[in-house]
């Protein structure tokens, strides 16, 4: 009776998994993934240059967005004149208004691509990227940057 009990006990003893191969795999994978991991997601923003054959050069519409320290102004749309949008008091609201104008232009000229950004010298880089985003999201693609005279 006691032998039978002992045998039954030995049979139910859990077998240990051999985790060493899995550990080896993890030890190889972790440094490889650490090397190619990005903790701050940095992405690329395309840019066209005047005379290098960008979308704005080939577009039938010569859309230009003038960006100064105090306002946005959309130019180059046939038969339309847009009033400058002041961005002094409410920059976010001004961007929304600019986006609405750009959306309207893209709806009228869906085949057009690219826009020329004419930027004043003292405008911070962050503001330039914001306008480039609005232009891209409205469907015009990459922007061409031009420096405005002081």
């Amino acid at each position: 009776m006691s032998i039978r009990k002992k045998k039954r006990g030995a049979a139910t003893e859990p077998e240990e998994l051999n985790l060493l191969p899995l550990m080896s795999l993890f030890v190889a994978l972790v440094p490889a993934l650490l090397y190619s991991a990005v903790f701050v997601p940095v992405s690329a923003l395309g840019l066209d240059f005047p005379g290098t054959g960008g979308a704005a050069t080939e577009s039938p519409l010569a859309l230009a967005v003038r960006l100064t320290d105090v306002a946005y102004a959309v130019e180059g749309v046939p038969d339309s004149v847009y009033a400058p949008i002041s961005r002094d008091a409410d920059p976010a609201g001004a961007r929304t208004e600019l986006r609405a104008q750009l959306d309207g232009i893209h709806a009228r000229y869906p085949a057009s691509g690219g826009a020329i950004l004419v930027v004043s010298p003292q405008v911070p880089y962050r503001d330039v990227v914001q306008v480039m985003d609005e232009v891209r999201e409205a469907g015009f693609g990459n922007s061409t940057l031009l420096g405005a005279a002081e």
């Binding site: 990005v38 701050v40 923003l45 240059f49 290098t52 003292q122 880089y125 891209r136």
Partner: protein, 170 residues
């Protein structure tokens, strides 16, 4: 007392000799748990295809909705205090800010050296790949546009026509 110890010692020795040899096993389960979590986290932040670009220390990149990836290219950093080409400081940013010239001579020389190095490496390796003129520009979000304009103009004079801006994904 002495006799008792001797007997106990003998018994102990006898017991040890009859027992199976002790094999020390590592308890790896908790370590495997840590590795599994770490692996999932790293897989989430993995970049597949395209070059990995890390922001230069001290440079606050502007946020953007763009999600495009980079191609392997030299990196020009316009930080608040200095301009850096491929990890080497080239000139102070103040110097570029105050300059009335569009061309930045120190930057031009550094980029020309980068181009020459790239071309000679490709030639030595017998590669048919031409110099593509690609450049990644990392600039602090507070830098005024005229500084960037000078940097971009100088880059173009050396042949870097395909400039990509580095931005932080929103």
């Amino acid at each position: 007392m002495r006799r008792y110890l001797t007997v106990t010692g003998m018994r102990e020795r006898k017991r040890r000799s009859t027992e199976a040899p002790v094999i020390a096993r590592l308890q790896l389960t908790s370590l495997i748990d840590i590795f599994t979590v770490l692996l999932l986290f790293l897989l989430k932040s993995l970049v597949v295809g395209g070059a990995v670009v890390s922001p230069f220390p001290g440079v606050s990149l502007p946020p953007s909705s763009s999600t495009a990836s980079f191609k392997e290219s030299p990196v020009v950093v316009v930080a608040k205090n200095q301009i850096v080409v491929d990890g080497e400081a080239v000139c102070p940013t103040d110097e570029v800010t105050q300059s009335t010239e569009l061309k930045v001579t120190a930057l031009e020389q550094a980029l020309a050296a980068v181009r020459q190095k790239t071309e000679s490496l490709a030639e030595r390796a017998g590669s048919s790949r031409k110099f593509e003129g690609k450049l990644i520009l990392q600039a602090d979000e507070t830098i005024p546009f005229h500084v960037l304009q000078k940097v971009m103009y100088t880059s173009q004079t050396v042949g870097f026509y395909d400039i990509t801006l580095a931005v932080i994904q929103k």
